[in-house]
Amino acid sequence: MNYFPDEVLEHVFDFVASHRDRNAVSLVCRLWHRVERLSRQRVFVGNCYALSPEILIARFPGLKSLTLKGKPHFADFNLVPHDWGGYVQPWIEALSNSRIGLEELRLKRMVVSDESLELLSRSLANFKSLVLVSCEGFTTVGLAAIAANCRFLRELDLQENEIDDHSGHWLSCFPDSCTSLISLNFACLKGEINLAALERLVARSPNLRSLRLNRAVPLETLQNILMRAPQLVDLGTGSYIHDPDSETYNKLKHTILKCKSIRNLSGFLEVAPRCLPAIYPICLNLTSLNLSYAAGIHGSELVKLIRRCAKLQRLWILDCIGDKGLEVVASTCKELQELRVFPSDVLGVGHAAVTENGLVAISAGCPKLHSLLYFCQQMTNAALIVVAKNCPNFIRFRLCILEPTKPDPVTMQPLDDGFGAIVQSCKHLRRLSLSGLLTDRVFLYIGMYAEQLEMLSVAFAGDSDKGMLYVLNGCKKLRKLEIRDCPYGDKALLTDVGKYETMRSLWMSSCEVTLGGCKTLAKEMPRLNVEIINEHDQMEIGSEEQRVEKMYLYRTLVGPRKDAPEFVWTL
């Protein structure tokens, strides 16, 4: 190992790109650790409370790109109270006080304030890329600061954030000298947009490859934009409504013909289906299509569109496509790798329009499928077994049967065998979400077969502590386990406490763990933060037998966090 000068090692490490591999490299010996950390540019922090900004900055002085995740996954579903935490401010403060020339910041489920954005924009001179996913706490004022101050901004990507929209002026804050934009996504903004400013911005951004508009951008503007930016690779339409007999629509049809580079298409937040033919010419080139917000496109229109998309690799749609529509997908999209079918009736009641038949059809027609998110009305063991056989390559398999604890409607059996077949057949499965009626047996299968499993989401399942224990014992690579409404108690929690230090986090809500159990765990494992979320002041200290409603534990280098709100107790 000492044969090579550091520069050579560094050069070799340049070819090691993935975080995992680089982490492994850093563990080989002190020399490698040093060379690796000094040359590392991209760091991924899966839990912002696992370490402190200072630790990060000390270890990686060459940091250029940082990814941070805050709240636990179940926060997406309103299970985590609003002010739980996940603030990015301390990170930005620390970075701005350091000599780190951060260029890219990617945040997920974090609380971002306008002050944070402003500080970021003023203190990081070389900042180029901001990606915010499912974040909240900021407004268009913060965006204006980013636009105005980040002279070399290349990417501003806002995905599904809750943003208070105060005005459309932030777009005008991009100086005329800003010509470096490559990617701009503001589809989640709810308010008005300064259309002229948008058009001018697009006109002076020759490198623009990805543009996703919000609902406030009408078809006329889309037309103008596409005229200026036929080189777009990724397009998200805004409001896609017009009179198909109009001049504007005609122009659009012609303009789109020139957009030969478009590979990703999304948006259609509002849509007049009669205007869809304008996009038919680009369908053949599409590799990614996201119509999951396009509630206005129904059945036959949807199918007509999809029939033209033979090269699709990724498809996100609403379940109004129905089983029949999925059969069309199966016969058309032979290259399909990722499929997400969302419920169009978001209240979750009534009929999801897809059943096990749609999934079976897909599995038969799309052998390359490796990622699935499927909300459906019902599922059978037989179907899952067929799917497992047809698609042994699943990496992510997330099935959500809308009705909790629903069994196989044909046999009235739990779905243990079906999911068992999936984990047995899909040897590379990394992420699994279960639903339907499930007993401890499914967890036995998971523990036995799911060797690569890293993330497991469980709801309303299992009969006893054994279920959870099978998983904890069997899945060696488990990193994230999230459980809600299952009968797992202290025994399951406490049997193998060392396991939790090998994992990123564990979430348990509406289970049977008690305050006493959590306290015991916290005492035995000082390097875990065991947080109890006590929302309604129900818990009294000292009543050990009390059931804990929500517990979130995670490994950390820095002990209990100082920004925990009143209702979060770190034991």
Binding site: L79, S292, L347, V349, G350, P409, P414, A459, Q538, Q546
Partner: protein, 367 residues
């Protein structure tokens, strides 16, 4: 074959209709017992011999309600909460509506309050009524969302038999934890208390309940966090109209106001938003309505304030639907409402005799 287990409820007998239901169950001779969470956890859905453990039931009874987090439409009420909360919505908005949009819900709430203390198990059988009654459109407050899946169930599920023909329901109880069962469903189950016929025993529910469709308003409250869809997506799709998304302007008239207004219903996604907007629009015409709205940031209203609001508030929001009938705003899901609403009218309470007073009556009983 998953057994469906029901136990005789040991809680308070709060209403006539509940006990006959329980009796009916045991009379069915199937040995059905409601199982609590722990009880169910002892039985796999595969074998049939589970027995509920009553001591654990009791333990679960204690804290479950308090620990629940529930969401519901304005006016929907979670059992166990204080009456003052009745008027309030999910808690996101601190403003109190000027016109109680959903006064009928208060009626429901008052009933709920009475039944709240009943044992958790009680709600279970009552729920059956709810589910079989409203085809696929009823939610329950509490941690579970269960919908009646009627049509698409294959015939085999009928064999399940012990529960109302609604096969979707059959599944739910057997594997549901007691905490769940109980917590949830007593809430929506109570809705039907108004109509005793609907609780004539489980096996009858399917038929009788459907007749009673109109009597129980579809109270929608969801299991928190289920189905697991990001809130952003939920909110987004809720506001996206599925049909032609052109603006939907409707006239709004108010009794006594010199001129009418128009609002675009598409710009709102909840009743609360509409109410707030209308309030702002018409505030210049109303006098002294807003006193009780100075409630502090928390959702708690004191009893007296609640009374003031109800009795003091003279106005009721109504709408004319496609059939030309004047309806009280707030009964149906928002999306359904905007599709059928032709005009809005802010009526004086005294004019809305058929609509509001019953609700006010019930609330005054509660208070």
């Amino acid at each position: 074959m998953s057994p469906l287990l029901l136990t005789a409820d040991e809680g308070e007998q709060s209403n006539v209709s509940s006990s006959p239901t329980v009796d009916c169950i045991s009379q069915n001779g199937s040995g059905l017992k409601e199982c609590n969470y722990m009880g169910l956890s002892d039985c796999s859905s595969v074998d049939c011999s589970a027995v509920s453990s009553s001591s654990e039931e009791k333990k679960n009874n204690l804290n479950l309600k308090a620990t629940e987090l529930r969401l519901g439409l304005p006016g929907s009420q979670s059992p166990g909460r204080t009456p003052e909360l009745c008027l309030l919505n999910t808690g996101k908005h601190d403003e109190k509506p000027l016109f109680p949009l959903i006064p009928s819900k208060e009626g429901i709430c008052s009933l709920l309050q009475k039944h709240v203390v009943s044992g958790n198990k009680r709600g279970f059988s009552d729920t059956i009524d709810v589910f079989s009654e409203v085809k696929g459109s009823v939610y329950t407050a509490g941690n579970w969302m269960i919908h009646a899946t009627s049509d698409s169930q294959p015939p085999q599920s009928v064999g399940q038999g012990k529960f109302p023909g609604n096969s979707g329901m059959n599944v739910v109880p057997s594997s549901m934890s007691s905490g769940a069962c109980s917590r949830i469903l007593e809430f929506s189950g109570k809705i039907l208390q108004e109509d005793p016929c609907s609780t004539n025993g489980i096996s009858h529910n399917h038929k009788t309940a459907s007749k009673n469709n109109s009597s129980a308003p579809a109270l929608k409250a969801q299991v928190v966090g289920w189905p697991p869809i990001r809130s952003f997506r939920k909110n987004s799709l809720a506001t996206t109209p599925k049909n032609s998304p052109i603006a939907l302007f409707v006239k709004v008239s108010m009794d006594g106001a010199p001129y009418q207004r128009k609002v675009d219903l598409r710009t709102y996604s909840t009743y609360q938003e509409l109410s707030t907007a209308l309030e702002k629009m018409f505030s210049c015409f109303t006098i002294g309505q807003c006193g009780s709205q100075g409630a502090p940031g928390r959702e708690m209203l004191s009893e007296s304030k609640l009374r003031d609001l109800l009795h003091g508030s003279e106005y009721v929001l109504t709408y004319e639907d496609k059939d030309g009938d004047w309806m009280l705003v707030g009964d149906v899901p928002w999306v359904m409402f905007i599709e059928s609403c032709k005009r809005l009218k802010i009526m004086r309470g005294s004019d809305a005799i058929g609509l509001a007073p019953r609700a006010m009556e019930k609330t005054s009983k509660r208070i």
